[in-house]
Amino acid sequence: MDFLRDPFGFVIQEYTGWLGGLGLPAVWVDIIAKLTGALVLATGAMLFVVFLIWYERKLIGRIQDRFGPNRVGPWGIFQPVADMLKIFTKEYITPIGADKFAYNLAPILAVAAVLLLWSVLPLSVTVVGTDLNVGLLFLVAVGGLGEMSYILAGWGSNNKYALLGAFRLVAQLISYEVPLVLSALVPVMLAGTLSVNGIVQAQESVWFIVAAPAAALIFFIASIAEIGRSPFDLIEAESELVAGYNIEYSGLKFGMFFVAEFLHAFTVSMIFATVFLGGWQGPGAAEIPVLGFVYLMLKTFVVYFVTILFRGTLPRFRIDQMMNLNWKVLTPLSLALIMAMAIVGGLTRELPVFWQVIAFLLVNLLLLGATDQLMRLSQSRKTKSNLPMQPLRKVLTTSTKHGAGE
């Protein structure tokens, strides 16, 4: 029965027990157990991408009134496998004058930065990769490491378009990391811990998306921007531009950026499900750990579905709109939200949890409503002046002699 209730935990226990019986020193048993865990998790994540690509193509196809892949295997499920086999046999073309080390390191780092996120995500009650006491901060910091890989790719390619694309992408990513970090403060305040597992456990009675829908919304939008997908994919808008930072990559090196993007999309969905949707929490999840895993996957797929829905239905932003959304909507909103939540939480501390959650919810909705009103106001003011875009009031250029940047 143990096996049915918690297959993963059961296997882990059996495995570590078996390792311990081999007569190795305890340190090595520990290291080998961890190595195996990491290998299994990382391989699983990489193979999972194959499924994700199929799922996403199928969904996008449906959104656009197509069938999506439907030739290779039942429902076209082996299409990504065929694509992978093809890309495996493609030649690597390294551009002349590329900085070999940076050029080759970039795709590896892009995937590694995403895979590393999986090391602190709790998958169920018993399967917790590692319960780091600063887990949430770790997620944000390692997510930011991906930026370095884009810089390496753009700079190592020895191509000015790749370089410009990389810098534009990094400018976008660091901009959206501001509301991401700020909105991550709210669950930390509510849970009183930075450990991801602690945050999940704190959501036993009420999910944080109920207590702080505004923070969840900011976190979600910033996460979509972090993975650089539509509607925030103007850096490598495939229907309009050459590819951006990865323009000089071919074969599997390009494929690795592709894998990193898909895996990142799924991983941020999982982070969102963990931080705001209660992770593995659900009826009976504490007693039957495997249910927790099922719940987490269900929630993650719901979030992932919404991101794909965004991708399939929303038009692409213009870059000034995107930056305005970040700096003039999300960042002020998250700043106001933290302050309001802190004060309201301090004032309602004596009340029962139910009323406190109601107070938090009201504050969130109030701020969201106010933001909506302000956005409408500025929108109508803009249309009155009949300008297609904001006037270039303050033209800031680096140097007049050297031309205007860009």
């Binding site: 340190v27 600063v134 910091a141 370095m148 033209v395």
Partner: protein
């Protein structure tokens, strides 16, 4: 020699080597990338000291923000890129002498201190307790004043840097 020591030595060697590359690389971009490696090495050093918080903050702030800021600045001051000439001032020998002397003096003085050879053992798990840090940062007996001053300092830096860096177009022909 245990595992932790091996990790420390590796991280320290990588950091020091890449730090040396930072100060000697000809191309600024290479120096900046070596700087990233140094910072990652220092993050590992923080891990061996069991300060999870600062290890992660090191990656978040230094690698994620400061290194990117430096790389942007390198790209903004473009002429450096084309400058493959000597990147070291003529008086570098004197600078090296000063640095070497300082190193000898610091280590010499520290070696006189009796705690120098203390073995650092593993701390209990709650040693880098963020709860305590958070409470100390806002307690009036603790660091409430520095905490607020830090905010003022950050704002001053923000305002100052924007004022300096962002000139209006008309100022530029000077």
């Amino acid at each position: 020699m245990n595992g932790l020591q091996v990790v420390f030595l590796l991280a320290a060697l990588v950091s020091l080597f890449s730090a040396a590359m930072v100060v000697s690389a000809r191309r600024m971009m290479h120096a900046a990338l070596w700087l990233v490696l140094t910072l990652m090495g220092v993050a590992v050093i923080f891990v061996t000291l069991q300060s999870s918080f600062f290890a992660v903050v090191q990656v978040l702030v230094y690698v994620g923000a400061i290194a990117i800021l430096i790389i942007f600045s390198v790209m903004l001051t473009r002429r450096v890129m084309e400058d493959h000439g000597d990147q070291i001032l003529p008086g570098w020998r004197a600078a090296g002498l000063v640095a070497g002397l300082l190193f000898a003096i610091i280590v010499g003085f520290l070696a006189l201190w009796q705690g120098f050879t203390t073995m650092l053992v593993e701390l209990p798990a709650d040693a880098d307790n963020l709860l305590d840090l958070g409470q100390a940062l806002v307690s009036p007996q603790g660091y409430a004043l520095p905490f607020e001053l830090a905010s003022v300092l950050l704002v001053a830096a923000l305002i100052g840097a924007i004022t300096i860096a962002v000139d209006r177009k008309e100022d530029q022909h000077g």
